[in-house]
Amino acid sequence: MTQPDLMSEGINLMLFGMGFVFVFLTLLVVSTTVMSKVVGKFDSGEPEPAANRPVVSLNLGPAQDQKLISIITEAIKQHRGQK
């Protein structure tokens, strides 16, 4: 590939690439907007049960959450017992 060719390849890649990025993201804007509307219709009343998700995850399953709470409770007892 000779140098002038390289330059025109670069310009092509720029036009082409930016064009594609805009087309892609425009389609994403459109599909996201449509998706949000469709989803909004289906679970309109959803009050977002954020509180359902565990506060701490720590790679623990639910059983171990229990353990964490129990050690904390234990720690509190000990803490009080020390006084």
Partner: protein, 437 residues
């Protein structure tokens, strides 16, 4: 062999005796990187392993960054060179010619040369092994991208999808840099191929794993410089962006307060990565590895039923891969590969890429304000380069300077994550364009 010979051998095998000036310079550079990472907090999660990997790679005679064949050639024992020369069909007298023949050999000869080197007692350096497993395989950057996906919240983007345009505009930095690189080549200042120019351009995407992935596919020989530029400039975002943002906006524009983002439901967040993946599948399969793993990570996070996998992807797994990815990138900082004029070109072009990307993001926001109804503070445009979450924080900070009530952080997170998608799309286009060329 008697004692004196052994002492001589130890001396001839020592670092002082063998250290080249290039290796010395690179050790200073790597200590500099570590200083920036540790004292100045420059993207330490990557720059500490990269800097240390670079130190290790430049230890004379240790050969940690070299393959078994490269080590055999470096040692330059006549009988070894002879054997390799026969395998590769090159005159054994010239180690450089041998090394080049090895690099350009086909898979069969490559394997034969490796067999010969192994038979003669040479083995891969440990950093080279890490490089093969983590980068050459393509797996490392993809696994990190999965973890990044599992840490990304698309809520702000979903609340205001138009900010995707900001993420698109900021990718102009990428392509302008490609043009710069081919321009420098046309002027005879540098000598980059189109593939190399594309790999350099992606620095402007301000996204570490994307840069490393593209470089490993299109221009592995430039990987070290590209990764170092990428992470260094990401760390410099708070210095590079503000002057550009101030120059392109008026005080009044900077004061503009944006309306509060709507609440985004859980189902929307779950469906979004699937929508994105379908678009990728339909339009640009070459971006599927990067965006596919990214969407997978995000789905694991949002679906709420595989929290233990999502937590591992965000913690143990991404940390493990980061350690080895950093060391592997560091292995590309060996003096003879890094201390080339191209590196200076890459470093200069990289910072230009960041600046242009920032400017285009801001200008796009101003353009959208001219045509759209809901006003956008142009300061969030700069966040479109990605550099998550640093660029969004910069937008917020400059906004607060102009108006102490102007909290832009959440608004800037939209273009910020849009920039991640945008540069992954740009990466896919460039890989498609270049490899099909």
């Amino acid at each position: 062999m008697d004692m004196v010979n052994k002492l001589e051998m130890l001396w001839h095998g020592s670092g002082v005796y063998n250290m080249t000036f290039g290796q010395f310079v690179m050790m200073v550079v790597c200590v500099g990187l570590l200083y920036l990472a540790i004292k100045k907090n420059f993207e330490p999660l990557l720059l500490v392993p990269i800097g240390f990997g670079g130190l290790l790679a430049n230890i004379p005679e240790a050969g940690l960054a070299y393959s078994s064949v490269e080590q055999a050639i470096h040692m330059a024992k006549p009988e070894v060179l002879e054997a390799l020369g026969q395998v590769l069909g090159v005159a054994a007298s010239d180690p450089h010619a041998l090394a080049e023949a090895y690099e350009t050999s086909n898979a069969e000869l490559h394997q034969a040369a490796v067999n010969t080197a192994n038979d003669l007692g040479y083995s891969n350096g440990v950093l080279y092994s890490f490089y093969l497993a983590v980068i050459a395989s393509g797996a490392g950057p993809l696994i990190i991208f999965m973890g990044v996906g599992a840490m990304t919240d698309f809520g702000p983007l979903l609340a205001n999808p138009r900010t995707l345009f900001l993420g698109a505009a900021a990718q102009f930095g990428i392509f302008a840099t490609v043009l710069g690189a081919v321009g420098l080549t046309s002027m005879g200042v540098m000598d980059f191929s189109l593939a190399q120019a594309a790999a350099i351009g992606i620095i402007g995407g301000a996204d570490g794993p994307t840069s490393i992935y593209v470089a490993s596919v299109l221009a592995p020989e430039l990987l070290g410089a590209i990764a170092v530029a990428s992470y260094s400039y990401m760390a410099l975002v708070p210095l590079i962006q503000p002057p550009i943002m101030r120059a392109l906006t008026t005080q009044k524009e900077r004061q503009l307060q944006m309306s509060q983002l709507r609440h985004v439901g859980k189902t929307e967040k779950i469906v979004f990565p699937l929508v994105l993946l379908v678009l990728v599948a339909i339009l640009l399969p070459d971006a599927a590895p990067l965006l596919g793993m990214f969407c997978f990570g995000n789905l694991m996070k949002e679906c709420g039923v595989v929290d233990r996998l999502s937590d591992t992807a965000q913690n143990a797994l991404i940390n493990i891969v980061t350690i080895f990815l950093g060391l592997s990138v560091g292995s590309k900082l060996v003096a003879d590969k890094f201390l080339q004029p191209e590196t200076l070109g890459i470093l200069s072009l990289g910072i230009v890429a960041f600046a242009i990307g920032t400017a285009c993001g801001v200008l796009m926001a101003k353009l959208m304000n001219r045509f759209g109804s809901i006003p956008i503070n142009p300061l969030i445009g700069s966040a479109g380069v990605s550099a998550v979450p640093m660029a969004a924080r910069v937008s917020n900070k400059i906004g607060l300077e102009a108006n102490p009530q102007n909290f832009l952080l959440m608004h800037a997170m939209g273009p910020n994550v849009a920039g991640v998608i945008g540069s992954a799309v740009a990466a896919g286009v460039m890989i498609k364009y270049v490899t099909a060329g």
